[in-house]
């Protein structure tokens, strides 16, 4: 809890109330100046000298949801009775230490240009085996799969078109069939009586034209979160092409990269100049470290503006192998939060295509209950083959 000292020199109630609202805001409640004014107005309605009454009234007015409901009493005491605890100001701003592993992802994105700058920030020669649960099997496959491809190939016409086609087909396959509203249509089960009547007025009340209405299938909005950590390097190219396809196919789609940080890449992917897009992506990729903090990245997503735009007609697609340095609980909490807003969550896992792979990684086990589908995907062809699965969702 962030603590705010009761301002000893505050002048009058308005000042103190402003401080209180700021104190709540500091602790994660979204409150504006209007709420401060409302809070002062509320105190006029009750016996403001009774602390319990004031506490209840402010709680009812200011708390926006169930999460704040539980913490409000402590926050109230902390501010008005100076019962707060000041958090140790340590290990907060710079918790993310640079990993000792080379920036594989970055080297992969732009081998010519990226490598020299990138090399300065990382400590080369770090062990391959540490971090995010990379086991021997994965490394073995990486060397097998690692072909000489770079970001220019990501923007190569053929694969871009293939990825776009796959993405478009998938986007089309996911339709919202639950709509119960009806829309006017040429053919449909029901008469649109409102229009029938309107049309009949021109003919003296004879209903000659019979407009109809039907339940439309509506496209779902896709939001893709693509893992580009070290363990995903091999697949990042395919996935990025796919994500680019998704974003290009649908103007409402949204895309993010994550690693230890989360980054919105939709504007970069929408750039029509493919070379400039590649440059922008490379710039964004810079500064990426080694480990994957899926839980942290998803938490930031769930807290940010991106999640605000989610609704029941959104599908969140997570492209990741599920190897995570964060705690599984954090991942589960973040997914639960996204779950409450989004219609579906689909996890595309490149490892799932492997024979004998079982999602035993702690993060994956924690995530499974929140997923509508956990599907294999490692090439564009494999992604295209998912269409029937998507149609079933």
């Amino acid at each position: 809890m962030q603590a705010t000292r009761f301002p000893t020199r505050a002048e009058g109630l308005a000042d103190r109330m402003t401080g209180f609202v700021a104190h709540l805001r500091l602790n994660g409640m979204h409150l504006g100046p209007q709420e401060t004014a409302d809070a002062l107005a509320v105190l006029a309605e009750i016996d403001a000298t009774d602390a319990d009454q004031a506490r209840r009234a402010l709680k009812v007015l200011l708390v926006p949801g169930a999460e704040g409901w539980r913490s409000f009493d402590a926050l109230f005491d902390a501010y008005w009775f100076n019962a707060g605890r000041i958090r140790q100001r340590a290990a907060n701003a710079h918790v993310r230490t640079q990993s000792a592993r080379p920036m594989l992802w970055q080297a992969h994105l732009c081998p010519e240009a990226g490598a020299p700058e990138g090399a300065g920030e990382t400590t080369p020669g770090g062990g391959e085996g540490e971090a995010e649960g990379i086991d021997g099997r994965l490394i073995a496959t990486r060397t097998r799969n690692l072909r000489k491809r770079d970001l220019r190939e990501l923007m190569d016409e053929d694969s871009r078109r293939a990825a776009e086609r796959a993405a478009r087909d998938l986007a089309r396959a996911i339709r919202d069939r639950r709509s119960r509203r009806r829309h006017q249509a040429h053919r449909g089960a029901d008469l649109d009586l409102r229009r029938v009547l309107r049309a009949s007025l021109a003919r003296g009340g004879e209903p000659l034209d019979l407009p109809r209405k039907t339940r439309p299938d509506r496209p779902m909005r896709l939001v893709a979160l693509c893992d580009v950590s070290g363990s995903m390097t091999v697949y990042a190219r395919v996935f990025l092409a796919f994500v680019k396809g998704l974003v290009a196919a649908d103007t409402r789609a949204d895309a993010y990269l994550f690693h230890t940080r989360l980054m919105r890449i939709t504007p970069a992917l929408r750039d029509h100049d493919t070379l400039r897009a590649a440059g922008r992506l490379s710039l964004m990729a810079e500064g990426f470290g080694g480990g994957t903090d899926i839980g942290g990245a998803l938490t930031r997503f769930a807290e940010g503006q991106g999640a605000q735009a989610l609704n029941r007609r959104s599908v969140v697609i997570i492209l990741s192998d599920g190897y995570c340095t964060g705690t599984p609980e954090r991942l589960a909490t973040a997914l639960a939060r996204i779950r409450r807003r989004a219609g579906r969550i689909i996890w595309l896992n490149p490892l799932l295509g492997w024979q004998g792979y079982a999602p035993v990684a702690a993060a994956m086990t924690a995530a499974l209950p929140y997923l509508d589908a956990h599907l294999p995907a490692n090439t564009i062809a494999a992604l295209a083959a998912l269409e029937p699965h998507f149609a079933k969702l």
Partner: protein, 287 residues
Amino acid sequence: MTTTPQADLKRALAAAGYVADDTLVMALHLALTLGRPLLLEGPAGVGKTEIAKALSEVRQARLIRLQCYEGLDAAHAIYEWNYQRQLLAIRADGAGEDSLFSDRFLLRRPLLEAICQAEPPVLLIDEIDRADEEFEAYLLEILSDFQITIPEIGTITATSRPLVILTANGTRDLSDALRRRCLYAYIDYPDRDTELAILARRGPRIEARLARQIVGVVQALRREELEKKPGIAEMLDWAAALAGLGINDLTEDRAALRATLVCLLKTAADRDAAPPELLDRIIGKVA
């Protein structure tokens, strides 16, 4: 000593059969004095809907209820023209446009109904999280201006401001815009004493010892990992079932007790999660 308006409201609610805690009473009091909508959240079966009923009884106001569901649209929530009657009217007496779009052919749905009352009613918008986002946005407009525009007639302004109560189960997050317009109260399962008071007021006539046992078992079950925790309604059902079977002491007749558990545990998984040993342990504790 208790002469505050909140205390009066609390007593009135209790007289109407609703046992409310102080925070909830404050929420209702502020909703009444400030004229703002009140959003109630909480698990299923804690009496969110009952509040609106009790409040309408206290205020002697009409209760208008709008049950939300997925795909709820303006035609079902606000107004609709009675097309069949309109067509008939055209054919039968050649009604002109003025008379066609008159009050006679207007079907008032709950929201329009609520703002057209002479006396302010209680408007209950139940399970708002089941309706889709479009409807939520539409509701915002009505809740802030209390007016509805019908193209054929014009704008209808509220004759009285209804007291709006919204309930949500948390099946999805509500938009911040809606939350900011509402006062908020989270209703949790009641504590032991409150639940005993509710049972005494709403339940069948039973002995105090049995009441304590019933509440004890239900409270203990809520602490278990259940899919669907028993709410107040389930507790009252169970009490009625036990009273109907003539059971006076839970420790006496274990078989009948297990048979009546269908009132409390409503999924197969939950029935498995509460094996006889667990029940014996719980009853041993509360007896």
